[in-house]
């Protein structure tokens, strides 16, 4: 079975993805779940829980309420908490039991919204998927419900979509990314949603282009394209790949087309036996691979171990499911840049270059997290792959 694992953990779940995406926006996230979702999220999937306030709760669902469909209790509890805590919005998340009993969350959202004067929306989760879908659904809901119409576009401005600590865990990632874009003549209109200002997200409709820095931002980009006609560029400006991202932003502002610049870079240097491989979420891993490829002039293989959208993957950015399939694929390379917990899958002769991914190893090894938007940090990683270091 491809769903059996004995060597590596699973990625953060979809509910954690939704909560992480909405963490800083001043809303209240309610997970309709008996127990455990919130503890799992705030222990293993959220580095901000201790220092920063965010209103994320579970409903404490019990067996009888699930069986008889006691939705009134859920509605009353959410309304009571919202009246006491005054969130900017309320987001409802599903979990396995309400999912299989077919709870109508859109109806519950409407019932709650009738009783409080803030937006209430449902994020389609069920606890059976990784964080990508949950975070993507949350950002899409923000794009749909919270971003207001703007009178005019502001040239050379960009929204950063898909920025959460699940993928960008090192301190300072958002600031470094912003500085990098500003140095290239682009101003950040809004940041979704790490070290961010929620009021700027409200005005995101006036940006010229969306920069999708992880798979979690792709769906929001589609919503913003539909609502405001904004094109998107998928990619992280890291290392030698950064100029390609900036060039794509310039082109997309000019012609209104969406671009995935890493796809071209990786296809151009594809090889059946690359020396180096990168494992992770599609946009981040492919951007890092594109940077390695450009900086070293060699093909680099990408293994997408998350449930990233097909549009962001390709033959060279391959979505790979299951421990056994990932193990077989990454051992084709001599050197693998991946979260340190992938070490257990590697052959003795395959080197690991540690690239901590919070959505995978959580707090384990967190002190080694690197901010790849800092050129010096990227350079160290590049050198390590060049040396095939750390067996």
């Amino acid at each position: 079975m491809k769903a059996v694992y004995t060597k590596i953990p699973c990625y953060s779940g979809d509910v954690s993805g939704a909560a992480s995406a909405l963490f800083e926006l001043g809303g209240m996230v309610v997970i309709h779940d008996p127990s455990g979702c919130n503890s799992t999220y705030n222990t293993h999937d959220e580095i901000r829980w201790y220092e920063q306030e965010s209103l994320i709760f579970i409903s404490g669902l019990n067996d009888m309420d699930a069986i008889v469909g006691n939705d009134e209790k859920f509605v009353e509890d959410v309304v009571d908490a919202a009246r006491r805590l005054h969130p900017r919005f309320v987001a409802l998340c599903n979990s396995p039991i309400p999912y299989i009993t077919g709870t109508d969350f859109d109806a519950l959202a409407a019932m709650i919204e009738d009783q409080i004067d803030v937006p209430v929306f449902y994020i389609s989760t069920n606890g059976l998927h990784d964080y990508i879908g949950g975070a993507a659904g949350a950002f899409a809901a923000v794009a749909e419900h919270l971003v207001v119409q703007q009178a005019e576009k502001k040239p050379r401005t960009v929204n950063l979509l898909g920025l959460t600590p699940l993928d960008f865990d090192a301190p300072g990632c958002a600031a470094s990314l912003t500085q990098k874009l500003e140095a290239s003549g682009w101003q950040v209109m809004s940041n979704w949603a790490l070290d961010c200002d929620p009021d700027k997200i409200r005005k995101a409709g006036s940006a010229a282009v969306n920069l999708v820095v992880s798979s979690t931002g792709w769906e929001a980009a589609r919503v913003l394209k539909r609502r405001f006609g904004m094109p998107a560029v998928a990619g992280c400006p890291v290392g030698g790949f950064a100029p390609r991202v900036i060039e794509a932003l310039n082109q997309s502002e000019a012609d209104g087309r969406t671009r995935i610049p890493y796809a071209e870079v990786l296809a151009a240097k594809a090889d059946s036996k690359p020396k180096t491989a990168v494992v992770g979420e599609a946009v981040g891993a492919a951007s890092l691979a594109a940077a390695f490829s450009l900086d070293r002039g060699e093909p680099v293989q990408v293994t997408v171990a998350t449930e990233s959208p097909a549009a962001l993957c390709s033959e060279f950015v391959a979505r790979t499911e299951g421990e056994a399939a990932i193990e077989a694929r990454i051992n084709q390379a001599d050197c693998v840049a991946a979260d340190p917990l992938y070490r257990t899958l590697l052959n003795r002769d395959t080197a690991l270059v540690p690239w901590h991914h919070f959505a995978f190893s959580g707090r384990i090894g967190y002190s080694q997290a690197v901010n790849l938007f800092e050129d010096s940090a990227y350079q160290k990683l590049l050198e390590r792959t060049a040396n095939g270091s750390i067996k």
């Binding site: 059996v4 779940g13 008996p34 404490g60 699930a66 803030v118």
Partner: protein, 444 residues
């Protein structure tokens, strides 16, 4: 439309003076908050105590994440297997077969067979009508060399029935052999924190004095040694959460069973110790008087140091918070807050005593959503337990879970020592209380 957040909160439903607190449920149920404190043990920590065992969980990503990372953080990933359920497993497949196939795959991937496997199906298995009996029948036939422990991770059932950890503790007693009774051994069943040394734990001291070996799962070096503890002539337990396990084992092996409730007041401690002594036919009066005198001296000494400093207690740190609050109040300490979401019927007498004798005591929920915004206290507070330390934002705290190995008059001595140390040496709260499963191995 985004709306400005209002940082205030109404705590009227989350913190109530004990004089007005309803018993046994002071707070209305509602949405639930979870603090950043994670010192308590979960089912993974508990199960890992079983020597030479492994664990297999069958559930979706979100539920799996908590348990697999627990194993990872305690450096026990090599003892963990998982079957990740997907939509199609629930909607288009036979979950009984998926579960069985997944467990078999885990065993095959491990290559070597563990002595025992704790299997954890989840809430979904109940709702989908999974035939777990069929699964275990097949597993026992295919792998007769493995002892299969039939656990559950089904929190949806816990508010109206037994909790997953209560059932797990009971399952963990099943491997114990049915051997001839040996009165020179006693078992302490269902504990997570080992019994402390004789000076801090009266059970350790009294049994040692009487030449009885106290068996604890965490001290068994291998699975066979653990199984041999079935010979013990007496089953003891100190927490109500171990009642199912201890009484279940006692019934199966036809042994006496004593609940040595972790109480703090003299009459109750005396009654429990006398019951234990009576079982063995020991005269403990002089010994008891001596221990009591030492304990009283320790309390007076600590009181002189701590004075009127406000004290907060939680249910993670101590098993019987109302009993402790009563003992401290009776000795002149200034207990101001108890962090607890409910009480057991056995605590009614302490609750009534505190209503009459502790005017300034407030009962605070830990789960109510408004507790996310619980304000910092105005002054310095001595917290007993990690959750109290978080709510009080207090570097002056006693870090322990489940009584920290303390029991009886020894507990007085041990706790007073820890309280005095906490006052003398404040420590950073975050690195301590965010560690999961206090006392377990930790790879962070």
């Amino acid at each position: 439309m985004l709306k400005q957040i209002n940082g205030a909160a109404d705590f009227s439903k989350a913190a109530v003076p004990i004089s007005q607190a309803a018993f046994p449920s002071p707070f209305d149920p509602g949405l639930e908050f979870n603090t950043p404190e994670h010192s308590h043990w979960n089912i993974v920590h508990i199960g890992m105590q079983l020597p030479e065992s492994r664990q297999i969980y069958i559930c979706g990503d979100n539920c799996m994440r908590g348990v697999v990372m627990t194993a990872g953080e305690m450096a026990a990933s090599d003892r963990f297997g998982m079957v990740l359920l997907k939509d199609e497993d629930l909607l288009d497949d036979d979950l009984t077969q998926v579960t069985l196939d997944g467990i078999v795959d885990c065993i095959e991937k491990w290559q070597t067979h563990p002595k025992a496997v704790l299997v954890f199906p989840v809430c979904i298995h109940h709702f989908m009508g999974t035939d777990m009996d069929q699964v275990y029948e097949a597993l026992e036939e295919k792998y007769p060399d493995i002892f299969w422990l039939k656990c559950w991770m089904d929190p949806i059932m816990q508010k109206r029935g037994t909790t997953p950890d209560e059932r797990e503790r009971l399952e963990m007693t099943r491997p114990l052999y049915d051997l001839p009774e040996d009165l020179s051994q006693a078992n302490l069943i269902g504990i997570d924190v080992p019994a402390g040394p004789s000076d801090e734990n009266d059970l350790t001291a009294l049994l040692k004095r009487g030449g009885v070996r106290l068996n604890e799962i965490g001290r068994c070096r291998d699975f066979e040694t653990y199984r041999q503890t079935g010979a013990a002539g007496l089953e003891l337990y100190v927490s109500q959460f171990s009642k199912l396990a201890a009484e279940g084992l006692a019934k199966r092996l036809k042994r006496p069973c004593l609940f040595m409730d972790a109480l703090w007041n003299e009459d109750e401690i005396d009654a429990s110790l006398n019951a234990l002594a009576d079982f063995y036919g020991w005269d403990i009066a002089p010994w008891l008087a001596e221990r009591k005198a030492l304990a009283e001296k320790a309390v007076q000494s600590a009181k002189a140091q701590i004075g009127e400093m406000p004290i907060a207690i939680d249910t993670v740190g101590v098993l019987r918070p109302l009993s402790l609050a009563r003992m401290l109040t009776a000795h002149g300490f200034n207990v101001v807050r108890i962090y607890a979401d409910g009480f057991s019927e056995a605590e009614r007498e302490d609750y009534l005593w505190l209503q009459q004798n502790a005017d300034s005591l407030t009962v605070c929920s830990t789960l109510r959503p408004e507790m996310r915004r619980w304000p910092e206290p105005m002054g310095k507070v001595l917290a007993i337990g990690p959750r109290a330390a978080w709510f009080e934002k207090s570097p002056t705290f006693v870090q322990m879970i489940e009584n920290g190995g303390l029991w009886g008059y020894g507990a007085w001595i041990g706790l007073m020592k820890r309280m005095a140390e906490a006052c003398a040496s404040p420590k950073a709260v975050k690195p301590v209380i965010t560690q999961k499963g206090w006392g377990c191995a930790c790879s962070l």
